[in-house]
Amino acid sequence: MTPVSIKHLHGLGATVLLLASAGLVWHGQPTPSEKWGFLAHELEPRLIERQVQIDPAELAELMRNNFIDLQLIDVRDERDWNLFHLWGAQRIPTQDLPAQHKRFAALPDNGVIVLVGNDEARATEAWKLIMATASQPNAYILAGGINRWLAEFAPGHHGRSVLAREQVNDTLRYPVKMAMGSRHPAALPDTHHVKDLSFTSKVKLQKRMVMKGGCG
């Protein structure tokens, strides 16, 4: 190879690299929803087969489990939050979730995230977002949301009939008389209340793939 050819190769290589990196500027890195797109085929089945939607009874038990680091994330509006929310929950609107990805990704192995909405639609969107942006933590969705929670744990039974009649549209349809936030007795149900209920336990502490690297 004459020297001229090598120089041409260098020039070509530099041009290709520059164009490729310019392409990166144009294409950009994946947005959270695009990221979900890449993961969907692997994770969507979990939603469809209802592997990650947990019964209110299971959540009630988790709330009293000292060995689990429970992160209760409420993704509802402030108004619904003020009317009623679970004891120990944090209110984080869905759009603010990606910004918290470092915290969620750094959860210990016994960390469990449960997403809570009035029904399931919003919580499911939040679940997808967290799985896509926070290295797939142990995250679950409260099946039936707050509406079902209150129907099962709030004193009196009139709520159930109300819910049976109305459409599922992620609004707080359970009749809450006063804004009590988490001071409502159903915010942390008594153990005897929960013991009678049976449920399929779905929460599994997955051993997540650990990022290892660095020079020893």
Partner: protein, 198 residues
């Protein structure tokens, strides 16, 4: 989607094999480029032979472009990629000390292994010295433990620090790299004439 938990996917032996092969390719390429020769490595610091700069920058930038295209199209999950945590001052001070070691010793840890593998005596002495250095560190780090753990900025990336999109940072680095190496070559030939090859 990469990366993979190798020992889970292909077993422990499979994982070790991959690491052996990666190391093999690394050593082979380094030796082929001349990195087992301390004179070549040191010549970088007199601007007489720019092989070190050229190989390092080209490698880093080619890898970066490939890595970030992979994350862009969903081949690689950047959340799982190991980004060295930034311990700013220990890194800078350690780097300066390593620079001293480089110009005195003519090697860095990786290249000294390459040199030693081809029986370069100076490389072997260097490896012995680095053993002493490493052991001394293990014994003395407790004395300045606070410093060693200081200025931990965590998983800080250039794009986060500059608040620029990733692609722009990569493009900027490529452009700067091309200019630096091109001009650097001109400077080199001006100082030493065309007799120096790289």
């Amino acid at each position: 989607m990469g990366p993979f938990d190798l020992s889970a996917e292909i077993g422990q032996i499979g994982a070790w094999t991959i690491y052996l092969l990666v190391g093999f390719a690394f050593g082979f390429i380094l030796e082929s480029a001349g990195f087992g020769d301390s004179r070549l490595l040191a010549a970088q610091f007199y601007w007489r032979d720019l092989t070190v700069l050229k190989v390092m920058f080209t490698a880093i930038l080619v890898a970066a472009v490939l890595i970030f295209w992979s994350t862009a199209i969903g081949w690689l999950d950047y959340d799982y990629v190991w980004v060295n945590p930034t311990y700013l001052w220990p890194g800078i001070v350690g780097g300066l000390i390593m620079g001293v070691g480089f110009i005195f010793g003519g090697f860095c840890p990786g290249t000294s292994l390459v040199g030693a593998s081809t029986l370069k005596l100076d490389a072997i002495w260097f490896v012995a010295g680095s053993a002493v250095g490493i052991l001394s560190f293990g014994e003395t780090v407790a004395l300045f433990d606070d410093f060693w753990h200081s200025s931990n900025l965590g998983r800080l990336t250039l794009q986060a620090w500059l608040e620029l999109p990733t692609g722009m940072v990569v493009f900027g680095l490529v452009a700067i790299g091309i200019v630096v190496l091109w001009v650097g070559d001109i400077v080199r030939r001006r100082i030493y004439g065309d007799s120096s090859e790289h």
